[in-house]
C-alpha cells in the first residue's frame, strides 16, 4: 500500500468492524485505581464480565503514598485513596487481572511500568483511562487515553468504538545543543505549535532530532503530545526501539522475536504518505525551556524573560496570558532566572526514568540545594528505584538535600498528599502547569530534570550550564 501513514497502517490491522465510527480491537488495556472503579461497578451491576483479563494490566499509582515503601500494611494517605486501592485489588482479583499493588516489586506509574516490562510493543493498540497513555506511542503503538465509560466498554468487549483520528506530522529537525533534553524539545514544539495544534489528530513525531533520542527521551516527547491537544503521539520504531525491547520480561523470544521484528520493521509511514496537517520545527538553536503560565504552551527559554501580554496581537491570547500571569504572580519583563523557587519535584510519567534520574544526579553530585528550597525525587517505578539505588543515585540525591521517595504519581497531580501549598512556586518535571494541578493555588514551572536539579541548587530558575 502506498501513501499510507503509520497511524492508518496500525489502525487497519485493528479494525474489527469498519463503520461510520470504527470498532477497533485493543491489544492492551492498562488500568489504574482512579479511573476504573466506576467501570468495574457498572459491569458488575449489568451482570457482565471482563472479556480478556489477560489483556489487562493494573497498577496503583495516583493515590499511593511516597513516604513509605508500602507493603507490611502501610497506610494509604486517606480514606478515599485507601478505598480505591482496596476496590482495585478486589476488582482485579475477581476478574483475574494482573495487578501491581502498592509495595510490590513491579509497581509504578502505569506509563512507566508498561514499557519497562516490555508490554508496550510496536504496532499495538493500547488504552488506559488516563490521557498520558500517549507515552506508549514512543514504541510505534497507537496509545491513547479514554474516559471511564470507555474503560467499561473495553473491559467488556476488548474493543472500542471510535472515529479514526486524523493524522498530523510533526517533523523535528536539527541537532540540539548540549544540555538540551527531550523535555526541552517537546516544550519548545508545544510553545511554537500551540496547545490546540493537535486537536482531533494523532501526531507522528519524525525527523532527525527525534531519531537521535533514546527510548526514554521518545517517551517524554510522546507523553506530552496530549499537551499540544493531540489524542496521542507516536514514533515509528527503529533499531533504538528494538534494542530497548530485546530481552524484556514480556518481549517475544526466539522465533517469535524474529517474526515480531519482521513485522515491526514494516511499521512506518510511506515516504509519500499524506497527513492531514504538517508542522516542521527546527530545534538546533533552542535553550532549556521553562513554562511561565498555566498551560504548557506558555513556555519560553530559560534565557528569556516573562513575556508582556500587552505585546500580544491576538486578544484571546493576551487575555489568557494576563490571567496566567496573575495566577502565577509574575511581572512581565522579569528574567526567568530571577524567579525564586520554593519546591523542586523530579518525577511523573514524563521524567522519572533512569536517564532522568541519572541526569539530575549528575548536576547535583557533590553539591547542596539552596536552603530556601524543598526538593523531592520520586522514581517512576519500584524497578527504577531499585536500579537507581544500585547505582548509588539515591545517595547523591539525599546528600544534596533531596528527599528520596517511593514510586507513584505524587506531586504531578497531588492527590496522594504530596502537594504544593497555595502560592508556593514549584519547578516540576511533570507535564501540566494548570491552575491548581499540584494543589490548590500552586504555581508550577515545567522543566527538564537537569533544569530542576540546577534550580534546586540555585534557589531560582536556572540551567545546568549555569553551574560550571
Amino acid at each position: 500500500m502506498n501513501r499510507t501513514t503509520l497511524v492508518d497502517r496500525i489502525w487497519e490491522r485493528h479494525l474489527v468492524e469498519p463503520g461510520e465510527t470504527d470498532l477497533i480491537y485493543i491489544d492492551l488495556h492498562l488500568l489504574h485505581e482512579v479511573s476504573s472503579p466506576q467501570a468495574f461497578e457498572a459491569l458488575r451491576s449489568a451482570g457482565r464480565v471482563v472479556r480478556r483479563p489477560d489483556l489487562c494490566v493494573a497498577t496503583a499509582d495516583h493515590q499511593v503514598p511516597t513516604l513509605i515503601d508500602g507493603g507490611g500494611g502501610a497506610p494509604a494517605v486517606d480514606a478515599g485513596g485507601a478505598r480505591q486501592l482496596l476496590l482495585q485489588a478486589g476488582n482485579c482479583r475477581e476478574a483475574g487481572i494482573e495487578l501491581h499493588p502498592l509495595g510490590s516489586p513491579g509497581q509504578g506509574i502505569v506509563h512507566v511500568i508498561g514499557p519497562q516490562m516490555g508490554l508496550t510493543q510496536p504496532g499495538m493498540t493500547i488504552v488506559c483511562g488516563d490521557s498520558h497513555t500517549a507515552t506508549h506511542g514512543a514504541f510505534g503503538a497507537i496509545a491513547f487515553g479514554i474516559g471511564t465509560s470507555e474503560v467499561e466498554h473495553v473491559l467488556a468487549t476488548q474493543t472500542l468504538r471510535t472515529a479514526r483520528p486524523r493524522t498530523m506530522a510533526v517533523t523535528v529537525e536539527g541537532t540540539v545543543r548540549p544540555g538540551v533534553t527531550a523535555k526541552d524539545l517537546v516544550l519548545a514544539v508545544i510553545a511554537r505549535a500551540g496547545t490546540r495544534a493537535g486537536v482531533g489528530t494523532l501526531v507522528e513525531f519524525r525527523g532527525a532530532a527525534i531519531r537521535a533520542l533514546s527510548m526514554e527521551g521518545r517517551m517524554t516527547v510522546c507523553n506530552m503530545a496530549v499537551e499540544a491537544g493531540a489524542r496521542s503521539g507516536l514514533i515509528a520504531p527503529d533499531d533504538t526501539t528494538f534494542r530497548y525491547l530485546e530481552g524484556r520480561e514480556r518481549s517475544p523470544r526466539g522465533r517469535l522475536w524474529e517474526r515480531a521484528l519482521d513485522h515491526w520493521r514494516t511499521l512506518r509511514s510511506d515516504d509519500d504518505a499524506v497527513f492531514d496537517r504538517e508542522v516542521t520545527v527546527d530545534v538546533s538553536a533552542i535553550a532549556p525551556q521553562v513554562s511561565w503560565g498555566t498551560n504548557p504552551g506558555q513556555t519560553t527559554s530559560v534565557d528569556a524573560a516573562v513575556p508582556d501580554p500587552s505585546g500580544m496581537a491576538d486578544p484571546a491570547e493576551r487575555n489568557a496570558a494576563e490571567r496566567a500571569l496573575e495566577y502565577m504572580g509574575l511581572t512581565p519583563g522579569t528574567a526567568m532566572r530571577d524567579i525564586p523557587i520554593d519546591i523542586v519535584f523530579i518525577g511523573s510519567c514524563t521524567n522519572s526514568r533512569m536517564e532522568d534520574l541519572r541526569a539530575a544526579a549528575e548536576v547535583l553530585r557533590g553539591r547542596r540545594i539552596a536552603s530556601s528550597v524543598r526538593a523531592l525525587v520520586v522514581p517512576g517505578s519500584a524497578l527504577v528505584k531499585r536500579q537507581a539505588e544500585a547505582e548509588g543515585l539515591d545517595r547523591v540525591f539525599t546528600a544534596a538535600g533531596f528527599e528520596w521517595r517511593s514510586p507513584g504519581c505524587s506531586m504531578c497531580v497531588g492527590i496522594n498528599g504530596d502537594t504544593v501549598a497555595p502560592g508556593l512556586r514549584c519547578a516540576s518535571t511533570s507535564n501540566r502547569n494548570f491552575e491548581g494541578r499540584q494543589g490548590p493555588g500552586a504555581r508550577t514551572h515545567l522543566v527538564s530534570p537537569e533544569t530542576a536539579a540546577a534550580t534546586a541548587l540555585a534557589g531560582h530558575l536556572a540551567a545546568a550550564d549555569d553551574l560550571v
Partner: protein
C-alpha cells in the same frame, strides 16, 4: 439513558479559552468511586470567588454552558462530564472541545455542540448580556438557535456515534451486544507474539521471580 432529541435552556457563558478538566473538577474530587455526586466539585476552585458566574443568583437554573475554544482539554477524567451533569447542565456549546472530553460528555448524557467561532462569539455575547437568554438545541437535526443572539438554525458538529446514541438513548455498551462473533473472529487472527498479562502469579514483574527484567536505561549504550 432517555432519548434526547431536543432541548431548550438558558445559557451560561464562560468566556475562557483552554479550560482544562482540572479546572472543571479539581483532583481532590477524584477520591470518589461513584458516578454521581460531583455537582459541588464543578469549577470548585473558581467558585471560591463569589462573583464567579455560577455563584450569581440570576444565573441559577441555566442548563446550557456556553464555553470558549478547546473546552475540556487535559486529563481524561470523566468526572468532569459527571460534574457538569450533576450541577444541572444538559449541553455544552463551544467552538472546540478536548478530544477525550468530547467523547466523555455524551457518555454522561450531555450534548457536546461544536459551533463555529462566529456563532460561539454571538452566543457568548448574548448570554453575557442577558442571563435569561434561551438556547434551543435540535439534537436530531444538529442545529441550534438563540433569538437573543440573532442565531437561528446554526449547524453544530456532533460525532455520528454520539448523535446516534443521544437521539436513541443508547449506552455505549448497548451497541456492543451483537458483536461477540466478529470480535472472536478477530481474536483468532491476532499475532502470536503479542504480550499477555499474568494474573494470579504474585510478583509478576519482579526480577527475582522472572529473572528477565532488563536493567533500565541501558539500551543503546
Amino acid at each position: 439513558m432517555k432519548p434526547l432529541t431536543a432541548l431548550t435552556g438558558r445559557g451560561m457563558p464562560l468566556a475562557r479559552a483552554d479550560v482544562d478538566t482540572d479546572q472543571i473538577i479539581p483532583a481532590a474530587w477524584l477520591k470518589k468511586t461513584t458516578r454521581t455526586g460531583y455537582g459541588e466539585g464543578l469549577f470548585s476552585q473558581w467558585r471560591q470567588d463569589p462573583s464567579f458566574i455560577t455563584n450569581r443568583p440570576e444565573r441559577r437554573g441555566a442548563t446550557i454552558l456556553v464555553a470558549g475554544p478547546n473546552f475540556g482539554c487535559g486529563s481524561s477524567r470523566e468526572h468532569a462530564a459527571w460534574a457538569l451533569r450533576d450541577f444541572g447542565f444538559t449541553a455544552v456549546v463551544a467552538p472546540g472541545f478536548g478530544d477525550i472530553f468530547r467523547n466523555n460528555l455524551p457518555n454522561a448524557g450531555l450534548v457536546p455542540a461544536q459551533v463555529s467561532a462566529d456563532v460561539a462569539e454571538s452566543l457568548l455575547r448574548a448570554t453575557t448580556r442577558d442571563p435569561y437568554a434561551e438556547i434551543m438545541i435540535d439534537v436530531v437535526g444538529r442545529t441550534l438557535g438563540c433569538p437573543a443572539a440573532g442565531v437561528a438554525g446554526a449547524p453544530f458538529r456532533l460525532d455520528d456515534l454520539a448523535h446516534h446514541r443521544l437521539v436513541n438513548g443508547l449506552e455505549l455498551l448497548d451497541l456492543a451486544l451483537s458483536l461477540g462473533p466478529s470480535i472472536s473472529a478477530y481474536e483468532r487472527a491476532r499475532a502470536p507474539w503479542l504480550p499477555v498479562g499474568q494474573a494470579g502469579s504474585p510478583g509478576a514483574g519482579s526480577p527475582s521471580r522472572t529473572g528477565a527484567v532488563k536493567a533500565e536505561g541501558t539500551e543503546g549504550t
